[in-house]
């Protein structure tokens, strides 16, 4: 039975305005469906709803905005359908551009920060145990797993409702009992060459997402110094092939110093030993093409970090790409990369930098009939359906080598 506080009731009754009342009404319906007993405060929000998917989303945002909706906690905005910094990259129709822009404006008018990134964790770092309302599947899994902050698997609409009210149902991953590992995946027995590969992360993510179902996974065998960008790639892939909103990397993520801690006294309902054959199959599953000519490369899904810019800059030393090479990133990280002198040499090599959006959700690619190479499990998962392209999946290094050659170059020896 849901118990609302007096301020919750007042908001529901319209004392904070019409938009807050609508937002609270929706939250109450969600809380009742979830069986929550109360609402709790959040300290921040990340809004996914600013990406245009049709008029319904625009109708909702403009109704909230027109009826006085205003965020009451610091709120970042997810990628949108347009790159406002580089509008010439957009190849879609004018109506789509106009509506995408209206939607972005509506969320900024309600107090959302124009971050337009799917990787809010690159600038906003909620602390261990802090409750937030984040939407965008990769951001959710990163917040819960890598930061140890607490957000449920929020989607469009509920994100802005939480931001306007500062409240969410006390349910799901806000509660200790739903943060315990229920499935255990062992990767420690894999060959060292594979465990050292950066592709280990998106491939393991793709595999775990597909196998774990609704169980919360723990992974044993990731290095204690696994890089953040690796965990980002793992979580994004697992949240694409499955509904993963949190994982534990035993010995690496904050709520899993040990397997016992991750399990929280429970016993796993599923245990899987991941072997090389499974990884090989998952790697193949992420490609629809493995050789031949290349049309483009796209990296930075989720958005490229400063560390990834540094790595790419070191890889393209003097190269000149013969196909389009897109890097998706945020305005904030682009500014940092430019300040570090990383951007000019990349542009000289032929890199096209995309901000505010991503190449798999908006018409930016010039040629959607050819093969596009990516190092992102998430991009590889969604692009064939979204864009109709063929995908080749490979490491950042393989992407660079392929873009310079104009054909797919992948090192098969690691996976043999």
């Amino acid at each position: 039975m849901l118990h609302l506080t007096d301020p919750d009731q007042a908001m529901l009754g319209g004392e904070q305005g019409e938009a807050a009342a609508l937002a609270m009404r929706i939250l109450v319906r969600m809380a009742e469906a979830a069986g929550a007993s109360r609402m709790i405060d959040v300290t921040g929000a990340h809004i996914d709803s600013c990406l245009y998917h049709g008029e319904a989303g625009l109708d909702f945002a403009e109704r909230l905005s027109a009826s006085g909706g205003r965020v009451v906690v610091p709120t970042t905005l997810n990628v949108s359908s347009l790159d406002l910094l580089h509008p010439a990259l957009f190849r879609g129709d004018g109506l789509l551009a106009e509506r995408g822009r209206r939607l972005m404006r509506a969320y900024v008018s309600m107090g959302g920060q124009p971050t337009f990134t799917c990787a809010p964790y690159q600038s906003t770092r909620p602390a261990l145990g802090e409750h937030v309302a984040w939407a965008e599947s990769n951001a959710i899994v990163f917040a819960n797993s890598v930061l140890g902050a607490r957000t449920d698997r929020y989607g469009d609409f509920i994100d802005i409702c939480a931001a306007i009210t500062g409240r969410v149902p006390e349910a799901g991953l806000h509660l200790d009992e739903h943060r315990r590992a229920e499935a255990v995946f062992h990767i420690a027995a894999l060959p060292e060459l594979v465990r050292d590969s950066e592709l280990l992360y998106p491939i393991v993510g793709h595999l775990v997402g597909g196998m774990t179902g609704s169980l919360l996974p723990a992974i044993i065998g990731l290095p204690a110094d696994a890089p953040e960008d690796g965990l980002k790639a793992l979580g994004a892939a697992a949240a694409s092939s499955g509904g993963v909103a949190m994982f534990h990397a035993v010995g690496r993520t904050p709520e899993a110093p040990t397997l016992e801690a991750a399990l929280g006294g429970g016993t796993p309902k599923l245990e899987v030993d991941i072997d090389l054959a499974m990884l090989r199959e998952a790697r193949n599953d992420l490609s629809t093409a493995s050789e031949g000519p290349l049309a483009a490369v796209s990296v930075g899904t989720p958005h490229f970090s400063l560390v990834e810019f540094e790595r790419l800059a070191s890889l393209v030393d003097g190269e000149r790409f013969v196909v389009d090479f897109f890097v998706n990133t945020s305005r904030g990280v682009l500014a940092q990369a430019a300040a570090a002198g990383l951007v000019t040499p990349l542009r000289d090599a032929g890199v096209e930098i995309v901000t505010d959006t991503c190449t798999y959700i908006t018409p930016i690619l010039r040629d959607v009939t050819g093969v596009v190479m990516t190092n992102s499990g998430k991009w590889a998962y969604y692009a064939p359906g979204n864009l109709g392209v063929e995908v080749a999946f490979g490491s950042l290094e393989e992407c660079v080598a392929s873009a310079a050659a104009g054909t797919i170059k992948r090192d098969e020896s690691v996976w043999a």
């Binding site: 609508l22 009404r25 929706i26 319906r29 969600m30 469906a33 979830a34 996914d48 709803s49 990406l51 998917h53 049709g54 008029e55 319904a56 989303g57 109708d59 909702f60 109704r63 939407a135 965008e136 599947s137 959710i140 449920d152 698997r153 929020y154 989607g155 469009d156 609409f157 509920i158 994100d159 799901g172 609704s214 949240a239 694409s240 092939s241 499955g242 509904g243 998962y381 969604y382 064939p384 359906g385 979204n386």
Partner: protein, 133 residues
């Protein structure tokens, strides 16, 4: 009780049972109601007017917008039957009801009932259950 109503309403239609969870974003074209996820076993099926029976949601949190848009356009399922509750599906349906007054009922049924539902069955979804008609 074998049925729990997350979004109350009454609807009927021919069942479409999904063998795997789907992300409506990237998986459903709201313009046509066709399943477009290249990896999904029900690729190419039309959800419009059907009672969509699915194990749960998956993937992107943009799915709520896609479902709301499909409801606005009249390409959505008539009702959605889940085996596990799914917030992302539910809020898409709630917002569409708030904005347009169109109800796409969402219910959760237990495993026994869920396993009895087969594609092509004519089903009625109400607040108290899912019935063959």
């Amino acid at each position: 009780m074998s049925t729990r109503s997350l979004l109350p309403g009454v609807a009927s239609g021919s069942a479409l049972v999904l063998d795997e969870p789907i992300s409506m974003w990237g998986g459903l074209d709201p313009g046509t109601g066709v399943i477009i996820d290249a990896r999904h076993p029900q690729l190419g099926e039309v959800v419009t007017g059907r009672v969509l029976v699915m194990p749960g949601g998956r993937g992107s949190s943009s799915s709520s917008s896609v479902l709301a848009e499909a409801i606005r356009l009249g390409t959505s399922p008539a009702a959605i039957v889940l085996s596990t509750p799914d917030d992302i599906v539910l809020i898409g349906a709630i917002v569409a009801e708030e904005l347009y007054g169109i109800t796409c009922p969402v219910v959760v049924v237990d495993r026994t009932l869920f396993d009895r539902l087969k594609t092509g069955m004519e089903l009625e979804v109400t607040e108290s259950g899912v019935f063959g008609i």
